[in-house]
Symmetry: C2
């Protein structure tokens, strides 16, 4: 429709209806609230032509003048539709789509953003982010410079997942809006449960740095350990094999291991099985959240689920609030749902003191 000369414009509609372009614009935008109305019969005539032709205002021209397209951008730092169908990001997108539908917006996937250095970049030579009214950012980790430019620029946006703004130039556009999962609370709750069950030496396995989802988990672990007064240590994965890691943990009397990701939990479980240790009999294992990377395991890990669909939905809600100047809560942490599982139990008194 955009190509060729016979393009459908307001002028064309106006010609067909025998009115002026201005009239078409007025009818389209339905400014009845103004004191001056278009005569009902003229209005009807214009509307009929519009219906017959299926005319829609060009969003670009519209956007050039004022600032809303009913288009919300979705920027993912990975492929939106990865080849593996059971995908971590899918529920987020499901929520995003549903909410967008409910508020009558279309979604623009920035598939034109080229991949450089392993991930997409928003700000490349010919970035098209401004096609959208606002946008949602989705990804485990968002480069700080990109986030800084988003905050500095005037493009309204919401991040799915909490983002630190400590490193951003302050006063440059306020805090970073996000809808995240309360990893800290959920992790702390699991630590408390472990302590209640009798565990006294706990370990956090994972980098605990970089992405906010990692730092939050470690922060929750650390806070709960301090609060309950037990021994809690942070074991980086390092270059070690799971077996080496397991041995290091056991030699220091650790009875409950909190793994940052499911893959790590699965690896430790496998190593434990190889050592003839039972889970949770000899060792308790907790997997902190839904897997971002798929892992082969048949264990029903104790841990928590994050409300991914709900996060996607609320991200759009917040974006809509921002776009309409509504002053709702623009930084939200949603509670995680604890998963009972069967890998967290009471410590074995025999091995405990070994």
């Amino acid at each position: 429709m955009s190509a060729g000369r016979g393009r459908l414009t307001q002028h064309e509609i106006a010609r067909m209806a025998g009115v002026s372009q201005t009239t078409v614009s007025l009818v389209l935008n339905d400014r009845c609230e103004a004191a001056w109305r278009i005569a009902p019969e003229t209005r009807e005539r214009v509307l009929r032509v519009i219906r017959e032709t299926g005319y829609v205002a060009d969003p670009l021209a519209r956007r050039l003048l004022q600032q809303h397209n009913q288009i919300l951008g979705v920027f993912t730092y990975e492929s939106v539709f990865p080849s593996t169908s059971a995908n971590f990001y899918h529920p987020f997108l499901s929520g995003i789509e549903a909410c967008a539908e409910s508020i009558g917006c279309d979604l623009l996937l920035f598939t034109s953003a080229p991949v450089s250095g392993g991930s997409r970049r928003i700000f490349h030579d010919n970035n098209r982010i401004r096609l959208a009214d606002g946008c949602v950012l989705l990804g485990r980790e968002i480069p700080r410079d990109e986030l800084a430019r988003m905050v500095a620029g005037a493009m309204p946006f919401v991040s799915v997942g909490r983002r630190d703004d400590a490193h951003l130039p302050s006063g440059e556009g306020g805090p970073v809006p996000y809808v995240g999962a309360d990893y800290a609370q959920a992790t702390a709750a699991l630590v408390r449960r472990a302590v209640d069950l009798g565990h006294r030496v706990l370990a956090y396995v994972g980098v605990g740095a970089g992405a906010e989802s990692a730092t939050d988990r470690l922060a929750g672990f650390t806070a709960a350990v301090r609060e309950t007064g037990v021994d809690g240590r942070h074991e980086p994965v390092g270059g070690r094999t799971a077996a080496e890691l397991l041995d290091a943990l056991r030699s220091t009397g650790v009875t409950a291991v909190f793994c940052e990701e499911l893959v790590e939990a699965a690896a430790v479980a496998e190593a434990a099985r190889a050592r003839g240790l039972s889970v949770p009999g000899d060792l308790s294992l907790v997997a902190l959240g839904d897997p971002t990377r798929q892992a082969e395991t048949d264990l029903d890990f104790t841990g928590f689920h994050i409300a991914r669909r709900e996060m996607g939905w609320q991200a759009i809600e917040v974006l809509d609030d921002i776009l309409h100047g509504r002053d709702s809560d623009h930084q939200r942490l949603l509670p995680c749902q604890l998963v009972e599982g069967e890998t967290l139990g009471a410590p074995n008194p025999a091995t405990d003191r070994a």
Copy 2:
């Protein structure tokens, strides 16, 4: 980059560099190939200001002028991201996304289209289809009136899945462009294989009407049956239970059943098990294609896969060809990949003549 009043425009850059807006535009677009060049020192001065300010041309104004916006629409007759993550449409979208990325286009998901009568409609009161340069249609069945309007209108489009155009007003815009799966060939190949194995009485179970994917399967079945000279019958599912259906089939000597969808194949298999019949010992079963509806079954059905990801990719390819006036093949049927499975075997001579 920043909107509002202090917006950075070519005019502003021009003012700073002491030249005209035109010059800035010329420098930006680097039209050296034209016979008339900007003086190198002027050019440098402009470039320096651009570098200093970090100016980027507004893509909207640019597109407004160039008459196309590198946006391809995706219209799905169901939710794009359904709640079940393992989803039939996912591979199509994966291919669509990958190809869009390769040609530098963004994707617009028409989530604003309201659902009426169980499925979305393209042409509703405030349809926004023209936001895109062209669009891809995705769905098991596309209402004929919608298809007719697409063909009649000037919006370039490609259907994922073959669409009949016999009912369309002819000469109104040529045939319907599509990228489909060659259900007929795949079904015929399976019929031939069954005949080679010794089957002489075959049945097609399913509606075999409505969606083109259904009619094509039945057509392939019918053609191969005629070609091989065996007995082939079409058994509509009707209101019967799977058990009743099974009995009806067996009473007429059918030894191989070709099911339109996996759900039907699974139901017949379950009924056969209940009757104490073995598959494929007493009855051969073929499932014609990937499941559009999920079915509970642990059987490894003989059948075929359709190249969903490839279909998505090629649909975008064809759309791109159309948009650029390239005269490639706009109606494509991709071969299906046969799946050996274990539900098609030689007929049992004992039960055969029973």
